[in-house]
Symmetry: none
Subunit: 217 residues, 4 copies
DNA sequence: GATGAATGAGTATTCATTCAT
DNA sequence: AATGAATGAATACTCATTCAT
C-alpha cells in the first residue's frame, strides 16, 4: 500500500486482483490506524475498500494476515529509507541523517507509524515482531560501534538496543499524534543528541562512576 | 491484589465481598498478563477466581473496569516504591535508587509489569493513560533539573520524558520476559547510566553542533 | 397500597412486615406505571422501597405476584367506588355518577390507572384478567337492562360489554396521560352520552335499519 | 408477510434474501401472536424461520425492528382494505362496509390482529403507535361529520375517536380469540349499530341535558 | 423478618469465515 | 476473481431467585 498507485484512494478505481489487494491494504491501514486492530472488522475493511466481504479472503488469510502484510511492508519501506540515509555508519552526521529519515517517514505515513509504534492497537501475536526486529537491527548496528571501541563496556548492548527502540517508537508515535508539539528540526536534533549521549562515551572518560562530575547537581 | 494475602491463590479460600473482589483482581492480573486483554473473557476471569459468571459484574462494571482497576493499583504501588526510594532528588544515587526500585518492583510483579508495559495487550481506552501519566510525572521531575540549569536547553523536555518512558517501559518489559538476559545489578547500572548520560550535558561542551545554529530557529 | 398509610412515601419510614409489603406495593406501582412491567426489575422495586433485594421474596412470590396484587387491589378499590356511586341502577343519573366516580378515581390514581388500562405495560399472564373481569361485571349489569327490555335485541351483550370496557379503558388512559386535554366535566358528560346512546334504543324505534333518518348525513 | 406465498410455511422453501426476510416476518407473526413480544427470542424466530441465529440480524436490526415491520405492514394492509371498502363516506352503508372489511381482515389474519389489538403482547415502544394512528385517522374522518353539523357539539372529537378505537380494538381482539362467540353478521351489525348510535345525535334534540327525554328509558 | 452476595441460566448481538452463484 | 447471503460459535451482560448470616 505504501507503493500503491496514487489513484487507489478513489475506491474501486482500479480493476484486477493486484489493485484489489492494494485497496484492501490501504483500507486496512486507514482503519487500523484510526481504531486499532480489534475495533476493525473484515467487513469494515472490505466495505472501505469497495469490495464484497468474501473478497477479503481471496487476498488475505485472515485479519491478522492483512495486519502482518501492512506491518511488513511498512517496516521494509522504513528500512529502505534508513539504509538510503546512512552515509557514515558511526558518524554523527550519519546518525542524524537516519533520524531525519525516520522522522520524515513518520511524517509522511502517519497512519502506518501509528499502527507500528502506537501500543495497544495491534494484534498481540503480531505485536512484538516488528519492534523486536528493529531492536535486533539496532543491536547489530551497535556491534560495529562496540567493536570499534566506541561503546562503553558497561552498557549492555541488548539493553541499549531495547532502550533505543522503545525511545524512538514512543517519541515518534507521540510526535505523529500532534506534529505541532515540536518542530521537525528540533525533534531530529533532540533525538540525535539523546542517542549520541546515551550510547557513546560522554567525552573522554565515561568511567562507571564519574561521581566527581555528577555530584555537583 | 498487589497486597493480597498469599493464600489467595487457592481459589475461593476467603469469604466476603472484599475477598471476592481481590480474587477477581488476581485472576484478571494472571490472565491479562498471560494472554492480553482481548483474549480473556469475563467468564475466564470468573472461573479462574472460582466464582460464577454473574458475580464478576457485582464487583466490576465490565472487563475494562477490572483492567483499569488493576492498572491503577499497580501504578499506585509503583509510585509508592519510587517515592520511597528517592533520597536525593537529582543525585546519581537518587536516580540509581529509583531505577533499582523500578527493577525490583518489576521482578516481584512480573504479571503486572507485563500488563502495564507490554504494548498491545491492553484495552485501547486504558492503554495510553498509564504510560502517559508516568511520562507526565517524569516531565515534572525534569522541570526542576532544567530550572537548575542541569538540562541543556536544546533538549525538549516533552521529547525527553517520552523518550525515557518509552525506554524504561520497553527495557523493563523485555527484561521481565526473561530475567536471565542480564543480571539485576547490570541492568540497574546500565539504565542509570543511559538516563544520566542521555539527559545531562556530557561534560562541558555537550553539543557536537554549536548552539548558535540551533538557537536561531 | 391504595390504603397505605400516608407516611409510606418517606421510604423505610415504617417498621414491620406490613409496612414493608406496603412499601413494595407502592414502589411497584410507581415503577410499573413509569416504565412498564418488563422494564422494571425486582431489584429496582426493592431499592425504590428501601429494602434489600432478598426482602422482596419474603412478601411476594415473584414479580408477577406483586403486579397481580397491585392490580387486584386497584380493581377492588375501583369497584368499591363504583358501587358506592350507584344510586339508580339504570338511570341516567346513576350512570353519570358511576362515570364520574371512574374519572375521579383515575384522576387520583394516575399511576394505577396507567398500569391497569394502558396496554403493553403489563405481564401478558396478568394482562387479560383485569379488563376481562370488568367486562364480565358490565355484562352482568347489562343483563338487568336487557331483561327490562331496554336493550335492543340486535345488540349482543357480549359485544357491548367488551366495547364498553375497551372504550372506557382507552379513553381513561388517554385522558390520564394529559388531563388538560378535556375538562373533567366534559369528559364525564361525553362518556355518559356515548354510553347511553350506544347501548340504549335511539329514540322510539331503533329498528335495524333506520335508513330514513340516517340518510340525511 | 401478509401477501407471502401460501407455501411459505414449509420452512426454508424459498431461496434468496427476500424470501428469507419473508420467512422471518412470518415466523415473527406466528410467535408474537402466540406468546407475545417478550416471550419470544430472536433465536426462536430464526429457528422457526429455518435460518441460523445470525441471519436474523442480516434482515432486521433487532427484535423491535421486526415487530415494527410486522405492525406497519399489517396496518398498511388494513388501511388498504378499509379504504377500498368505503363507498359512501358518511352513510350507514359505508360505515357497515368498513366494519365488515375490518371484521373480515381480522378473520383472515388472526395472528396479526392479535399482535396489533391485543394489549400487553407488544413492545412498549411500538405499542402506542399503531392504535394512536388509527385513532388519529378516525378523528380526522370525524371532523368532516362535525363540520357538517352531524356531530353534537358536546361530544368531544378526541374522546370519541379514542373511544371508537378502544372499542373496536377490544371487540375485534375478543372475537378473534374465539369467533364462535358471535356470528360474523351479527358482529358487524352490532358494531355498526353502536358506532352509529354512539356518535350521532340520538334523534332530533341531543342537547346537553335532555333529561326529560332520556328519562323514559 | 431482613440482608445482600452469589448464582447461573438466559438472551441479544457480533463477526470471522464459508460457499453457492 | 468477485459476490454477499448465510452460518454459528463466541461473548458480554442481565436478572430473577436463593441462602447463609
Amino acid at each position: 500500500m505504501i507503493e500503491a498507485p496514487v489513484g487507489a484512494q478513489d475506491v474501486a478505481a482500479e480493476r484486477g486482483p493486484a489493485a484489489t489487494a492494494a485497496r484492501l491494504l490501504a483500507a486496512g491501514a486507514d482503519l487500523f490506524a484510526a481504531r486499532g486492530f480489534h475495533a476493525v472488522t473484515t467487513h469494515d475493511i472490505a466495505r472501505h475498500a469497495g469490495v464484497a466481504a468474501g473478497t477479503f479472503y481471496l487476498h488475505f488469510k485472515d485479519k491478522s494476515d492483512l495486519y502482518r502484510a501492512i506491518a511488513q511492508r511498512t517496516v521494509a519501506a522504513l528500512q529502505d529509507r534508513l539504509d538510503a540515509a546512512a552515509p557514515g555508519r558511526g558518524t554523527r552526521d550519519g546518525l542524524r541523517a537516519r533520524v531525519a529519515a525516520l522522522v520524515d517517514f513518520a511524517d509522511q505515513h502517519r497512519d502506518l507509524v501509528r499502527i507500528l509504534f502506537r501500543a495497544g492497537t495491534k494484534d498481540a501475536s503480531v505485536e512484538a515482531e516488528v519492534l523486536d526486529e528493529l531492536a535486533a537491527r539496532i543491536a547489530q548496528g551497535r556491534s560495529a560501534s562496540v567493536a570499534a571501541g566506541e561503546m562503553p563496556r558497561d552498557l549492555d548492548p541488548g539493553v541499549v538496543s531495547q532502550a533505543l527502540v522503545g525511545m524512538l517508537a514512543r517519541v515518534i508515535a507521540w510526535w505523529v499524534e500532534d506534529p505541532t508539539r515540536i518542530a521537525r528540526e528540533d525533534l531530529i536534533e533532540t533525538l540525535t543528541q539523546i542517542q549520541l549521549a546515551g550510547t557513546h562515551p560522554p567525552a573522554g572518560g565515561h568511567s562507571k562512576r564519574p561521581e566527581a562530575k555528577l555530584r555537583e547537581e
